[in-house]
Symmetry: D2
């Protein structure tokens, strides 16, 4: 297990999907930050299941409790421990899976790695593990917003084969994103995506998708070459999210098809600072932020739990017909939006503190 992330703004998450609770300890959060429970809750609410007809119907209150590090709504500079109690525990739903590793889940690999696994649910491989990340990420966002005015906005840019057009990254907002049940801020695409999700839901199938994210007002100078380059830590952060399969920064895979002349971001004077005319670099050059907007995409595979029979094998290799029974999302990307934002915030908060130590 490696349940810690970050060097100075460091989080340690804990909790299985069916343990007493899931939570996080944030060590290194700067002191004197004003934090209210609502700052954390709003992102947890965006992450929680049961928000709309197209997410899992598992309802969770996801009410956060602070155990330490905060007094009179100010951070003390000491570790902040936060937890959400697991109230909706129905381990029975998963009993059938005991001898059958669910295809494309972590049941098999956890068993091999640890020689034991949680009796029910996906244990630490469950999406519920991300609650700690989102709580900590909301805190990191508060820090980034208060000190630098940083804004982080993620949205669903593809569901299955349906992609939305490029958004205006200067202006796209969480409000726009949340107007859509599927968290795609472009109405036409959103409608198509919702229909696509409804269709797979009806058949017990599932869909994947892509989340795009922009981070605005990030100062130049953040990122620690050569191994903790800003894009490298973002890549690690994003690929650590359950179901994530790909990451690209700036021009990404499509940039690999361009020539240098077309791809290079030429410098230009911009509001008193040196900026770039284009931003194919995605706000990062040589692993260090350059003052332009950071943007990236994260690919997610379709939900592995489906309601359709699958011809697979049990742990002993015997053929089995398996039909999923647990509650699940037909498409994970809408609920993964705040998780992507949170992981981005955690990366940036850590890089911010690292750069502060240099100045």
């Amino acid at each position: 297990m490696s349940s810690s992330f970050g060097t100075l703004f460091k989080i340690t998450t804990f909790g299985e999907s069916h343990s007493a609770g899931v939570g996080v300890v944030v060590d290194g959060c700067p002191p004197g930050l004003v934090v209210h429970e609502s700052d954390i809750r709003k992102q947890l609410d965006r992450r929680k299941p049961g928000q709309s007809p197209i997410t899992t119907q598992r309802t969770e209150k996801d009410r956060i409790t602070f155990f330490s590090g905060l007094e009179a709504n100010r951070t003390l500079g000491t570790p902040l421990a936060m937890m959400v109690v697991n109230t909706d525990r129905r381990p029975g739903d998963y009993d059938d899976f005991r001898n059958v590793p669910r295809p494309s889940h972590a049941d098999f690999t956890y068993q091999v790695k640890y020689g034991i696994r949680a009796k029910s649910g996906g244990g630490r491989a469950s999406a519920r593990e991300t609650i700690g990340r989102v709580a900590a990420g909301a805190l990191a966002e508060k820090f980034l917003a208060d000190v630098w005015g940083i804004e982080i906005v993620a949205w669903v840019s593809a569901v299955g084969v349906i992609s939305c057009p490029d958004m205006d990254m200067e202006t796209v907002s969480r409000d726009q994103v949340d107007e859509s049940m599927v968290r795609c801020p472009e109405k036409e695409s959103s409608d198509k995506m919702i229909r696509a999700v409804e269709t797979v839901k009806a058949s017990g199938n599932s869909l994947g998708g892509v989340i795009s994210c922009v981070c605005r007002k990030v100062p130049a100078g953040w990122g620690e070459p050569v191994f903790d380059k800003a894009e490298a830590k973002l890549a690690q952060a994003m690929l650590s999210i359950p179901a994530a399969k790909g990451f690209e920064i700036g021009s990404g895979f499509s940039g690999s098809r361009m020539t240098g002349l077309d791809h290079n971001d030429l410098f230009v004077r911009k509001n008193g600072r040196l900026g770039t005319l284009t931003n194919r670099s995605g706000g990062i050059q040589g692993g260090i932020t350059n003052g332009e907007m950071i943007f990236f995409n994260v690919a997610f595979k379709p939900t592995a739990t489906i309601g359709i029979s699958q011809k697979t094998a049990d742990f002993d290799g015997n053929p089995v017909d398996l039909v999923g029974k647990g509650r699940h999302d037909p498409c994970v990307v809408p609920r993964a939006v705040p998780i992507v934002e949170s992981m981005a915030a955690l990366v940036l908060a850590d890089l911010a503190l690292l750069q502060k130590s240099r100045m």
Copy 2:
């Protein structure tokens, strides 16, 4: 700076492109490993410039010297320090760049971050920084091959808009890869790629591309959820390579367009172990290897240094016409192949030791 990578098999690299040398200290390499200079040299040779007409003509001997940790060709379990002397130092080539940050290079961001930068060349942002990684990676590979028979093979699967068809990942070998000047093991695509590189080279322009990599015979059980999942560490490792813009594991971005029913890897008995019929997971489930082949793609942007005039700005924001003069690769991907393999080996060696501590 964060010049260290790994928890137990840990490397620390050093050196600018025009300092006395570039090298690496490997701490945590298991003792008793048989290592010859040639084990390291063969990968360094594949990385070095001047290998073919389509790479940079900067010639480097890249001869590795061991300073410690090895006695009578056996590792002692103590830190191995290795260095390549920088023999071909021509700082004069870069003098023109002093006041002009090269577009899509790290000149600007290094200046902002550190308030100072190396007089010449790209400093730590130079491709030459990767020598230490390749030397350490070759050592990691030796360890992985000796103990588990692991094979890591990377190849160029795209140059600009030219992609090669899917290779047989069971059999593709470094010998096949090295038969091609552009390191694409499929003859027809290779020919097209070479022509494309020659064309951009002639015009002073450059191309990007994609490298694919397969890791065979990796045991099940490696990877440390939740933040050091195998794919998350691979993503960090790959995005830390200069010019890398994207990473995808297994089905990657294309997997995000599939349904769960089509995407799930069904289990099946396989040579006495539990395997999967398909491998869209890319050998990793829940962040832990499952015994299938690991495979992934890495996108690289086109070389930023080009021989065509660019209308950019100097550090003060004044418009400048800039023509690149330094020697450079018209396409970085052929030489990045051993770098991708090396970073993969470093990730796997570290995860291997981490899992050993558990058993």
Copy 3:
């Protein structure tokens, strides 16, 4: 803040003396370990206040709750989060201290460092912070005992100027230690120490002391030169305990007064292994355990909180007469015994896993 300790067996503690709770997340505890609440409780009970007339009368139930990582009393290999609720919160006791930094406490330094501090009590500098360490240490002890039969026993070897004679380190046991209210297993010294504590208690004064600790059955080969040598990590662990002022391993300071001829531990065949005739090394040579018993001493200063008026200054530098009011121990060493054992266990468990990764 650096609230994490350990590389593979890693703990992260949280909680102020008057926050909702104090606890710990243990990441990297091996899976499959059988753990009952009583395994943890017995050490917490030895740490808690109010155990005897000579400790503070602040009564704490110190009941531990497991949040995660344990199922049917077996560790899952995932993070174990444990917490003790702070039930006896009387922040009012400390109101007088708001403008006066208590002498030889951390009030002043926390204020300078963080620009803010917990309203009441010592915050993270409070002895209550050690609950998380003791809970995690009890877990580490269980692991060490189950796998290697390791025994860790600490005792009070000095209170103020009263020292007890050398104990038989082969046999000294926790039962013997706990027979004494002051945790000194030698009856005559114990009696003297108790009287000494009663005397300072009556006058509102306080005493320091020394804790000795032996770790039996530790295998040879543990410890990570050159910076994480076994004695170096023990030293860090012990000096991180509140009020600790000194550490010595084996012959320690008195060894510095010997000659090499007298000090050297000669090798000899011992029950089929190579052992040493004497053990001035304290079981560690070159930073690595040698199979002999590890033993060390830790010095503790007298409790800083006293009931006698002190002429000190407030935060603005104005002279103040300060009389302590909070409940406090007249001598910290009896209750610090399980803390020393716990920190020793945490160091050894981590070194054990590190060495396992090498084999």
Copy 4:
């Protein structure tokens, strides 16, 4: 192996006593620092053997080479690699030891831990390993002196049973220390110590001793509770030095014999800041520096290599008469003085950067 130390000002050392060289990579040294080779050399010269009749006659030039990170005598913010070539390699001296583990050396434990060890000399357990520490420490000192005017002075306060009186910690200087061949700045004690060393040298025996160290002008607020408290990191740093057996901060072991009333450091206004009347805390309270002088003692055991026959056993447990042959110091403490200073500087530089990240 754990050859790295520090979180932000991080060093990684390498090299055996008889490998090609010994050195260090310093990652995280702030950019723009002016460093000359002489800044490093002066401390290396104080560490090197052959300085006086009472140190080992092994002569080493210990000339440092910079490989990277420095340009025109300014640090670039990138890793600084430095190495001293091992010129005086006489592995033959140690051949007799191959089958006999030297008493109180690390031959036995390295063999057990790694299953292999360097053919000759003490490998990484050799005092020569400390060259990298001293080079890096000199760099750290330069940083601390340039930014805060910090002064670090260590001296020999005891050799065997001979102790020197308390020095004036406000004024004791390296010049005073270096006037004494044994590095004790008090003339009378120095003379006695020199005679004592000469006596044991004549008989082939050896002596231990104590080094005291003061750090002046350290700002308040440095140190990272709870596990990386300033005194905890100093303790780890000091106990990681070869032959160190004990550490005490401020009043240390003698403080454990005082009452709280006598021990507490009362606050008082001092040159416009809040200071303490006494300094039994040794400049650290609650793990954080308080603006007073930091001081501590480190105990060293007598040199294990002696020229007198010892009745010990070989690796198979067979009795052997062993007479040491390698060149050695009759007393290690004079040459350990710059090592203690260097490790103190490394701890402080790291804590400085950590605190800067918070401001």
